[in-house]
Symmetry: C2
């Protein structure tokens, strides 16, 4: 078996099998980093250049590929199998092994937003791709196997379960209210104010009213934009500014680089039927509940799908705001 | 804020807020274990007895309670809030601080199955309870805060997301095929055989065809039983035997006690409409992908809801079977 997807008939979800990944590179020392530039041609890295700005390449251990072969179908009805078609890309954020997103100038981060938009457009055009998912796993607590700052793009052959759940709920909301649920959430968060971490004229960041993780923050376009392709160049800079501020608040909160999962939710790429209910937002979910304790996903979350949060969104938002205010204060 | 649930309008899921839980007891030394019997009345534990068989009590740091007060409702439409009504119980498996499930005789484990059935029946009868969820988080890798072997029961005021997704898929399957999807899965796993870990005349354990975790095992009743209340005393012993064998295979696999989340899926308790599509099964999801490496849930799983598995179910099932065969072999 290699590169196949199997369907869970008891939920409808697909699992992707990528059995060559067990041997992938695991926390190499910094001087053997495969994402650093190739400074010595005798010892090439995965990037054959002496310097670079951003680099995008196919994951060396892909779980989805354009040409995954048709698997042997199971003989009878209850199970279903499909080729693991799609793409998995790596986006290296910089040739500096230590330059994480939070430490980049906003202008540079805005160019990364352009890279994300480019990958969304290009991968989304492929026949075998239905949904382009941009994300970053940061920190060993999130299972990161390479420290060099990088993100990933998975181009799935269908809309994955969590975005599909959001789209379905947004369709229901639209049918009942005639509005985009994210537009309504943004309006409400701005009126309430207590959960807002930061924002500008285009973008707002807040700990959602229903936060599942103590320091969960959503970075959302204020106006309805279904994907990065609807976001203008000035708005991309505004998005970068807000994202950067949130990441700096994270790193300042406990005094160490905060681990997190960052995931970007945009419109599916196969057809236009989702434009009115897709609303570009970035979900940041750090696992920490205190400086020394993690929130573990266990029985209630993994078995039940029901999250328990031990903190108050209004308070964690205030903590993150306080970090930004402290950093903005003039030094004595 | 205390003891409230807030609804995510972008998915329909509820988050439970339990803000007093940040200070809960965290990995105390064995001689201060709050789940051990009270051997010295001057130093009482949470169990006021010198010895016991099983103990069930309300979680000292509950996230759901019978009398959670009505929260202050948010002023406008997009957000919803509800009291965190329900129950969270702890089931201590034994007064022996070190007796884990895998090391209990099957007869004793069958009596624990009776305790689970009792809690399912009693909590399910309460007006404020719609779904009774029995689970165990085992091992520090799963965030366990007390080592004394114990499980938990959450009685939710509505059907939580993952069981609801299963029930919805099972309804769809029933509408299309006229059969219970779990009955069909059990039949298929028994015919295929390659993913079966062990079983007897009443119960079968298998790495599902679509396994999300490398060593995920489902322990499922062979005949249609909607909940433990439909399972006879002899069948409960058969269930205990199979569960015990799987847990022993886990512990033998890498030579250390395997961490896992165990969750039991049964019929919702509020009405009978789910009986034909609810099929009692226990899902075991250990986080290990090798002896030294964990499967981390990150971008694809948490942000996308899409699982990637680096192993082959047919192979991991064979590994678990080999442990059981080795243990059964006569010693030279």
């Amino acid at each position: 078996m290699s590169g196949e997807r199997r369907r869970d008939p008891t939920t409808g979800d697909w699992t992707t099998f990528a059995t060559h990944r067990q041997d992938r590179t695991f926390l190499p020392p910094a001087d053997q980093c495969p994402l650093c530039p190739t400074r010595d041609p005798e010892h090439p890295t995965e990037v054959p250049r002496a310097a670079y700005d951003f680099v995008v390449f196919d994951n060396k251990f892909p779980s989805l590929t354009a040409d995954a072969p048709q698997p042997v179908a199971p003989p009878s009805g209850v199970y279903d199998v499909a080729p693991a078609r799609g793409a998995t890309e790596v986006i290296v954020y910089s040739d500096d092994h230590d330059l994480k997103l939070a430490d980049m100038p906003a202008e540079r981060l805005a160019r990364l937003v352009d890279v994300w938009a480019d990958r969304y457009a290009e991968l989304g055009r492929r026949d075998e791709v239905a949904y382009v998912f941009v994300f970053e796993n940061k920190g060993e607590a999130m299972g990161v196997t390479l420290h060099h700052p990088h993100g990933q793009v998975y181009a799935y052959p269908e809309i994955p379960p969590r975005p599909m759940r959001e789209l379905t709920a947004a369709l229901d909301h639209f049918a009942a209210q005639g509005t985009c649920v994210y537009c309504d959430v943004v309006a409400r968060e701005r009126v309430d104010g207590v959960r807002v971490v930061c924002g500008n004229e285009s973008v707002v960041a807040y700990v959602p009213y229903w936060a599942r993780y103590p320091y969960e923050v959503h970075v959302t376009m204020r106006r309805h934009a279904a994907s990065l392709l609807d976001v203008t160049a000035p708005e991309r800079l505004r998005l970068a500014e807000v994202l950067r501020a949130v990441l700096r608040a994270y790193d300042g909160l406990f005094g160490f680089p905060m681990p997190y999962v960052m995931s970007m939710h945009q419109a599916p790429t196969d057809d236009g039927q989702w434009q009115h209910v897709s609303h570009l937002h970035i979900e940041l979910t750090p696992p920490h509940r205190t400086a020394t304790k993690l929130k573990y996903l266990a029985g209630s979350e993994l078995g039940g799908g029901a999250f328990v949060n031990d903190t108050v969104p209004e308070r964690t938002a205030a903590e993150l705001r306080a970090v930004l205010e402290r950093d903005r204060a003039p030094r004595p």
